[in-house]
């Protein structure tokens, strides 16, 4: 029995605000960010939380008492209402088959609406969003998604080759978002003494700052500490550190830079 209790559950948190979806409506960006996110990624939860909530006249959008039959701005449309509005405008005779269509396209509603727009024409506006400043809501969702995907791809292009092999693991998703870049800088502490700053080791996948600092201190036989994501090594080891980062931590040479008086000079070149 205790096995069932102690197995961790994965909890869904809003991609826009990070709260559990049921608490999203108290946040400032609920209508602009959370609703579109929830609608596109978890339509079932959206329907359960806000479809019902609105029917019962509770929280969503502060709509209050208006019943679910009147489409007037009580809250954003559910997927079903959106589809009903679409068919109502272009093909009223198909209205009866909505449930079957919804079932068929469950989980890929985005595609359904894209196809419909292509076949019939622009989607009818959700009156809930219509009184806001910018209107066409459905398309907005899709555009937003595409935009994110583009950014993701661009990020991936930026990634350096050295890191790529390591990133197939569980942490791949998290790491993909940052591109690795390590900057090494010599700072003179005193006329004769210097310290070496290494910035950006936290962008290297699979390495803890503390462990890296420890490795540096071992290699250079001096103190090495972590301060606000920055590793400070006693002594002037600029070249050696760069070499070590490339050979030991497997960072690509293109991702290691020297900071010479504010100018970034790549290590490889």
């Amino acid at each position: 029995m205790s096995v069932t209790i102690t197995t961790p559950q994965s909890v869904i948190y809003c991609g826009a605000c990070g709260m559990p979806p049921e608490y999203c409506s108290y946040g400032p960006d609920f209508e602009t960010h959370c609703v579109p996110w929830l609608k596109s990624s978890h339509p079932d939860i959206f329907a359960r939380l806000h479809g019902i909530a609105r029917g019962a006249g509770i929280d969503a959008g502060g709509g209050g008492s208006s019943s679910s039959t009147s489409p007037a701005a009580a809250g954003p449309w559910t997927t079903r209402e959106r589809l009903a509005a679409f068919y109502g405008k272009y093909m009223p005779e198909k209205l009866d088959g909505i449930d079957a269509i919804l079932e068929k396209y469950e989980g890929k509603e985005d595609k359904l609406f894209l196809a419909l727009v292509r076949k019939y024409g622009p989607e009818p506006e959700d009156p809930y969003y219509a009184d806001g400043s910018d209107s066409d809501d459905g398309d907005d969702d899709e555009d937003g998604d595409d935009g994110e995907r583009d950014v993701g791809e661009r990020m991936r292009d930026l990634d350096v080759d050295g890191g790529k092999k390591k990133r197939r693991g569980a942490a791949a998703k998290k790491v993909n978002k940052v591109d690795t870049r390590v900057i090494i800088q010599k700072i003179s502490r005193n006329r004769k003494k210097a310290v070496t700053h290494v910035v950006g080791m936290d962008t290297v996948p699979g390495i803890k700052l503390k462990d890296a600092a420890k490795a540096f201190s071992k290699r250079f036989a001096g103190s090495s500490s972590v301060k606000e994501k920055e590793i400070i090594i006693q002594g002037d080891h600029v070249e050696d550190v760069a070499e070590m980062i490339v050979t030991k931590f497997g960072v690509s040479e293109d991702a290691v830079f020297f900071d010479l008086d504010g100018e970034f000079v790549p290590y490889g070149g």
């Binding site: 205790s2 209790i5 559990p20 049921e22 803890k208």
Partner: protein, 195 residues
């Protein structure tokens, strides 16, 4: 307590918790949350991988579980000699665990999300809930740690400790009833792991 908490700045030292201290922590948790037995706790916090204790300021301790992927996941925290409280992410992860809990009414939710303490009427109004009192024995003593749920919601939204016993809350029905330590959206909530 954690409203402006930032893991990269506010955490000072980390130490591995001794096995004997870890045993003490577990026994404290199981006495203050009766439905969580030692067996369950042993499974959640295996003896093999010790807890890591982070200090936040002079009096606040954060206990973290070691992760496979590196970094430590905060699971419990304790202020001075107060009750040991679970973090919300941890409570959400194991919904079947029954911590000692109360429910606040709907009207209190927006205030709670801003980090406010729970006022007595939030617990005594329709929709609010506390363990029942039996004659002279209060369902919740002053100082007990509780997980705070909200009316009509599945997931808890804060954790805190009682500043009055549940008998007094029902009788006086005025002022702060629970002091909130950690709530949805605060700094600790935003901390998934500590490096």
């Amino acid at each position: 307590m954690f409203k402006r908490f930032d893991a990269s700045n506010d955490v000072s030292t980390s130490t591995q918790v001794k096995a004997s201290v870890q045993r003490g922590i577990k026994s404290q948790i199981s006495t203050s949350h009766p439905s969580i037995t030692d067996d369950i706790l042993d499974e959640l916090l295996p003896k093999k991988s010790p807890l890591v204790q982070y200090k936040i300021g002079p009096h606040l301790m954060l206990y973290c579980r070691q992760h496979e992927g590196g970094g430590d996941e905060p699971v419990f925290f304790q202020h001075r000699d107060g009750p040991i409280l679970p973090t919300l992410k941890f409570v959400h992860k194991y919904p079947k665990l029954e911590f000692t809990n109360v429910t606040v009414d709907k009207g209190a939710i927006p205030f709670m999300l801003g980090g406010a303490n729970v006022m007595c009427p939030g617990l005594t109004n329709a929709g609010g809930e506390m363990p029942p009192d039996e004659d002279d024995k209060a369902g919740l003593q002053k100082g007990d740690g509780v997980v705070i749920y909200a009316e009509g919601k599945e997931l808890p939204l804060a954790v805190g400790f009682m500043t009055m016993s549940s008998i007094n809350i029902r009788k006086k029905n005025k002022g702060t009833g629970i002091e909130v330590c950690h709530f949805l959206g605060d700094g600790l909530w935003g901390t998934d792991d500590i490096q």
